[in-house]
Symmetry: C2
């Protein structure tokens, strides 16, 4: 069990959640701000987590018949202009390339070689991919066209925060074309379901699948679906979206095909994406006041073996014992920390980095064929025989993966209110009790909504919004929590990132 | 054996090598030009090849102790200015971001929101990574720092060609810091050796490792090493480079560390990279007049099974027979082509895509428990028992992998002259015999060079250059092939891409 020592991260979650998040990232050495405004450097530990997320999702994307490809970083302005709502949505946050050389003048470099048509760095690729698809799709035989790309995108955000909102971020974006609305809609929901699997089964983050209200729709989409998760400050985080685009982009980019029946139709398209923000969600869902907690499936090292080398004459013996343990655990991602540091420093380093299991080995353990086994989730630390490690470790890892998920599920449930029916109650729930001191309050409210878009701005006062209309609708009748009018829709109300 | 049919690619290599290259890419559906000047779309088949190359190299990079990370796409102008030669080398081909929003004016979008300091899209990342390293490196205990990133970069090239030279391309770039010159130099050559392994063992491309002459050095490097391969038009292609940067960048970016001895020193840095150009090298080394030829290790499908479904009543039977074959070959990347196309169309599709082995199966084959087995390298096609496929296929794939390498090695040897000692001979070798008609001529010349950089421009007349000074130097004395002066250096002279 945990001792009553000081927490490794200061401030704690209760003291200042937002600053705690930054400090967890720093303590785990995940990423740092770069001198380029709003851009981050993803450091090796953060990158390894991204690789595990990427590989797990990439496999699912391929298993469902999609193929990866790669499209240009640049989008001509004329492409953006083709879909009116799309350009409206992205024009205010575009990095624009206007020149293609630099020249020295009075000792300073200045841009020269103006481009005939400025180029935008892709904020998303519906337009440049739509243009390619107009060449690739000719007949119903070419459909469905199921493409995905892993890429960097740029949205010039004014307020940025590591992993959560950065000017440049990494993501995958799927883009598909179908012969009819039904198939396109099925694809949109299939990919949302794959995101749910990724979030729940790999990241151990329970999510609510739902549809966005009109005001929160992707610019140019007919329907936008999302998955929302509750962070430990009880705010909602949208971790990914899947859009049914109808024929909006196929008409803008002329993606037409000869139908099986001998006619001509525009394709029905979808797009869907998740980003490096998933790492932000991961941190905010599981970590504690000692730092990062990693579900085993996305832990770059699942087990770290720490040799205690205080007796130089037995160092070789201890190290070869560690190698043997590593070999026994070869089914897991296992690392021996041979650094020339004190044992305590190493231990705290791996706690802050969120490694699920630590195995400490000293000369006495060699003698007794045992080791000290410590868990990141419970803080338990106890001697263990080495002979049975290979059977114990997978059980612990499974237990921990499930445990993180269960804990987060319980937290979400605990802080989701289903008994709020009036605006006054809503207001009370989302108002901090002590305005002088930051505190964690509120949560999710599942309540009725009349569906009228003009009612959404009334939520601004409470600094909340409709996060989604859950896919699972009760179908019951009630009163709109905003207006009191009759309402059938179930909606999730919350503060959000 | 090959029949005397028409080749699938027109023109042939002999008729017009450069156009043949474009047509091979088109026929194999590898990539296409995008409407954005100089940028390509990498299509699924091309991308799958890149993934195989990436994964093979990534493993080697990690096995040698490097860690992946990710750095910003943007580089502030002030960073570029810090290393004089570096900026000189890249200023003429930089995409420059000057604005961060778009506004509509008279129905057209115009850039607005000017940046205080323009940003360059990374043409390479020594500067932005050097800045990060200055924060990461404090003590000799932090060294060596071994980092790699997979990223897109942009160099605004005026004349572009798919895979060979594009404005945006994909690559990996390694960046390391060491405590002394010796270790940094060893790293530089270690990574060159890893590139050789990748090229020769995976891509089946024989390469010559060497050092660049001063005029061809990376801007800011002390030494630039490269590997050069001979394409089928006998030109040299530089497929990757590894640079020893000395203390040039560590001084420019203040990468300093406390030495073990209690002093303070600047780090010794290296950088090294290979790009999507490797796919260009792959195409130009192995492909023939029927299209792409893929060495099995980089073939997305190593075996394609083609069911012949001309008897509808036996279609199910044939398909389940195909599934059984696929299961028997589960150690290999195997694909069943179930498309609703004529058998001949499918066959030619996979020939043009370079798939190593095709297995055709019809109802009669089911009856006789056999199949038709065809090889892409020799064109041989013969019946084969299904029982022994699982033992035959790995042998064929190994043979083919080695065969492509041997063929390319023989070609390089055949067209490398070692007996040329005068400028007149050099000129004769590199002058086409028939100037009215494009023809494949020349090759590599391994000859003596005096090492005087002022002699290199004399090669412009022959449209050749010194490709490298091979790492394996004979040490013999002779006469410089350009000037006739005494010379000891061995150099490779060739036309290049």
């Amino acid at each position: 069990m945990k001792t009553t020592k000081e927490p490794a991260i200061k401030p704690t979650r209760q003291e200042d959640y937002s600053e705690w998040f930054q400090q967890v990232i720093k303590a785990a050495d995940l990423a740092e701000n770069s001198p380029v405004r709003g851009c981050m450097v993803i450091k090796p530990w953060g990158w390894s987590i991204w690789e595990l997320i990427r590989d797990a999702l990439d496999k699912r994307i391929k298993d469902t018949g999609h193929q990866n490809a790669y499209f240009p970083l640049f989008i001509p302005l004329s492409f953006l202009e083709k879909e009116a709502k799309h350009v409206e949505g992205f024009a205010k946050e575009c990095a624009v390339v206007t020149h293609h050389r630099l020249e020295e003048k009075d000792g300073k470099l200045i841009p020269t070689g103006p481009l005939e048509e400025p180029l935008v760095i892709r904020p998303t690729s519906e337009t440049i991919i739509g243009d390619a698809f107009s060449r690739w799709v000719k007949s119903w035989r070419d459909l469905p066209l199921l493409i995905n790309q892993w890429a960097n995108v740029v949205r010039w955000e004014m307020r940025t925060r590591l992993f959560m909102r950065t000017a440049e971020f990494l993501w995958q974006e799927g883009h598909t074309v179908h012969a009819n609305e039904k198939e396109a809609r099925e694809e949109t929901l299939q990919m949302l379901e794959i995101y749910r699997e990724l979030a729940e089964e790999h990241l151990a983050i329970p999510v609510i699948l739902g549809e966005k209200s009109e005001g929160e729709r992707f610019p140019g989409a007919v329907n936008t679906y999302c998955f929302e998760a509750m962070m430990q400050d009880r705010k909602a985080l949208q971790a990914g979206t899947s859009h049914y685009l109808g024929q909006n982009f196929s008409k803008a980019f002329d993606i037409r095909f000869d139908t099986k029946e001998g006619g001509l139709d525009y394709g029905y398209t979808t797009s869907w994406g998740v980003t490096t923000r998933l790492i932000g969600a991961l941190i905010m869902t599981h970590s504690d006041d000692d730092g990062l907690c990693l579900p085993p499936k996305v832990a770059p090292h699942q087990v770290v073996i720490i040799p205690v080398l205080n007796k130089p004459e037995r160092a070789d013996e201890v190290l070869s014992y560690c190698e043997k343990i590593k070999k026994d655990l070869s089914l897991h991602r296992c690392h021996i920390d041979k650094r020339d540091l004190r044992g305590g420093e190493k231990t705290w380093d791996w706690i802050k980095k969120g490694v699920p299991v630590r195995i400490e080995v000293g000369p006495r353990d060699v003698d007794s064929q045992s080791c000290m086994l410590a868990r990141r989730d419970t803080g338990e630390k106890a001697p263990h025989s080495v002979d049975t490690l290979a059977t114990t470790i997978p059980n612990i890892l499974n237990e921990m993966q499930q445990g993180y998920f269960d804990r987060a599920t319980a937290y979400q449930k605990e802080h989701t209110r289903t008994d709020i029916t009036t605006f006054e109650q809503l207001k009370a729930f989302f108002t901090p009790k002590n305005v002088d001191k930051p505190e964690i309050h509120g949560g999710f409210v599942l309540a009725k909504w009349c569906g009228d878009p003009t009612t959404e701005p009334l939520l601004d006062e409470l600094k909340i919004s409709i996060r989604c209309l859950p896919l699972k609708q009760s179908g019951t009748e009630g009163k709109c929590v905003i207006t009191g009018r009759p309402a059938t829709l179930d909606a999730i109300f919350a503060k959000s990132y």
